[in-house]
Amino acid sequence: MNDRFNLYSLASPASFYPFAGKMVPYFVALSVVFGLAGLWLGMLVAPTDFQQGEGYRIIFIHVPASWLSMFIYLVMAFWAAIGLAFNTRLSGMMSQALAPTGALMAFLSLWTGALWGKPMWGAWWVWDARLTSELILLFLYIGYMALTAAIDDARRADKAGGLLLLVGVVNVPVIYFSVKWWNTLHQGSSVNLTQSSMAQTMLWGMLLMALCFWMYAIAVSLVRVRTLILERERHTDWVKAALMEDSREKSGGDNK
C-alpha cells in the first residue's frame, strides 16, 4: 500500500462513499453559481429573438434538460457496460442513482417542448421523429427503474437493467441526429462547433444553464448513490462503523 492518491481505489464503495460526500457541496455551489449567471444572461440581458419573440427563452431550460437527458443515459449505459464486463459493485449503483434524475430531465425536455411547441407550431405534441424518440427515452428510463426495482437480488437487478440500458442506447443517436435524418417539425440544432446561429449572450446563457443542470444532476446523484451504497453494503464493517459513528454524533454529549 502507498499513500499516493489512487483513482482506482475510488472503485471500491468504502472509499467512494466519503469521497462522494465531500464532493456534494462543491457541485451544489457550482450549480447555484452557474444557474444564477445563466438566468441573469438568459432572462435579463439576452435580446429578443427576431422570429419567436420572448417565447424563445424556453430554450434556456429546454436545451439543457434535453442534453442532460441524453447524456445521463449515455453515462448510465457506460456504467452498465463496465459492470457487465468487470462485475464491479459500484457500477450498478451508479446507474441506479442516475436514473431518476435522467427521467426527470427527459420529462422536463418534453414538458418545456410542449409549452414551446404550442405557441410556435400550434400543437402541444406532434409525432415527429425528435419528439417521439425523446418520449422513448423517457420510457427507457421508466422501464429501467421498474425492472431494477422488480428484481430483489441487487446484482441480478444490475445485470438485467444493464442489458436494457445497453440495448436502449441506440435510441440516443437517433434522438440527436433525428433532425438531420428526417424531415422534422422540430428545428435543427442551433449550436454548432464551427458556427452557431445564436447571439453570443443567448449562447452563453444556454451553456451556463447546461452547466447548472449538469452540476445539479451530479450533486443529486451523488447523494443518491451514497444512500444506495449504505443500503447494499450494510453487512460490511465499515458501514456498521459509519452508522455507529453517526449515532454517537447525533446523541452528542448525552452519554458522558
Binding site: V45, A46, G53, L115, R224, T227, S247
Partner: protein, 65 residues
Amino acid sequence: MTYWNSFSDFLAMGGYGFYVWGSFGVTVLIMAVEPMLVIRQRNATISRLKRQLRADQRAESQVAS
C-alpha cells in the same frame, strides 16, 4: 443593463408569459422537490439501517450471555 423596461414587461414575456413561466415554474418545482425527496430517503435509510444494526447487536449479545 437589462433588456427589460419594467418588471411587468418581464412577467409578460411579450405575450408568451404562460409558456415561458410554465416551463420555468415546473423546472424550479422539480429541482426543489427532487433534492428534498433524495435527502428524506437518505435519512429514512440511515435510521432504518441503524435500527436493524442495534437489533442485530442485541440479538448477538443475548446469544452470547
